[in-house]
């Protein structure tokens, strides 16, 4: 099994090498070109992806045609549209590589087999889902309580390398700013 994923899993659950081998047998490594989509809106999202290398954005296009980024994903993160994957409904989101990337794909149908063969995968994904939810609540809390400038500072402090890595207009979209507003804040800070 990929060493990064093995380490990642062992941060959350106790698992031996044989069990890791079972987990591994459900994964498929895929190279993803820069700008390539793993799924697009209107299709049902069929997999979750563990990012080995690279960077992704999960976004939708609003009524006015603007791209709104819901999430970024980098190395050692799982990324998917949980709504579409769990409820088997067409996604409103698009998952696109920002850089040339490499992922491990876990198909949603296989996922049920994985849970059968390795029940502690339920524990792993229970903990990950709870942590993902916690992060989402923190983001909501920031949106309620912080000024734009404070939100940008929080983001930069939590993700210093990442802030340099994604184009400024994407960061602005994630934070709910115009690119001009972000540029103004960044100008003040430098």
């Amino acid at each position: 099994m990929n060493r990064n994923l093995a380490e990642y899993i062992r941060r959350y659950i106790e698992i031996d090498d044989d069990e890791l081998a079972i987990f591994n047998s459900f994964l498929k490594e895929r190279d993803v070109d820069k700008k390539q989509y793993l799924f697009r809106s209107a299709s049902v999202c069929k997999s979750k992806y563990f990012i080995l290398e690279g960077c992704f954005r999960l976004f939708y296009v609003d009524k006015k045609g603007n791209e709104q980024i819901m999430h970024f994903g980098i190395e050692n993160w799982w990324i998917t549209d949980y709504d579409s994957l769990l409820n088997k409904t067409p996604s409103e989101l698009n998952l696109q590589a920002i850089e040339g990337s490499k992922v491990l794909e876990l198909n949603g149908i296989d996922l049920e087999d994985l849970y059968d063969q390795l029940p502690k995968a339920e524990r792993l994904f229970r903990i990950i889902a709870q942590k993902t939810y916690i992060a989402s609540q923190r983001r909501l809390q920031f949106m309620f309580s912080l000024s734009g400038e404070e939100m940008y500072e929080k983001f930069r402090d939590f993700n210093p390398a990442f802030t340099q890595r994604v184009p400024q207009y994407m960061l602005a979209s994630y934070l709910g700013f115009t690119p001009e507003f972000l540029s103004k804040i960044r100008g003040k800070k430098s």
Copy 2:
């Protein structure tokens, strides 16, 4: 076991009566007075609660002293501060009954025992965490894409009975409005 909870659990996982009895042995029924707190900020949240009757709000107090509601909870919902419960850190949130209520309490320490004795509880709470996360992402998406008026309409359409049940100033807080703004929108609609 309480019939509502049994029905609720069976919506998500297959579970027989003996297993339900194990689950039940970890729960403690509690009556909660109107305005009573189940936990307050600065303390570590130690339990998750299944609401049998009544209505709760989960809120924090911001730097300016304003109460910001993160969540409501009504019958057949689990409510807790996942961050504090999972990471054993002091909560920033307060969980208060809006009405006289009745809950089933599942203590965080017992929860680990429950997972040991009944591994499929991992599956239940994995699915619930994913669904809770999906709801939270939808709310974020509404905040990005909808006007105040559209957000209120969505909320009312998804929760018609509930919109009548909570005080207007709490609904305004949840939606991120001033009470005056909500009152103006409601006035237009009636």
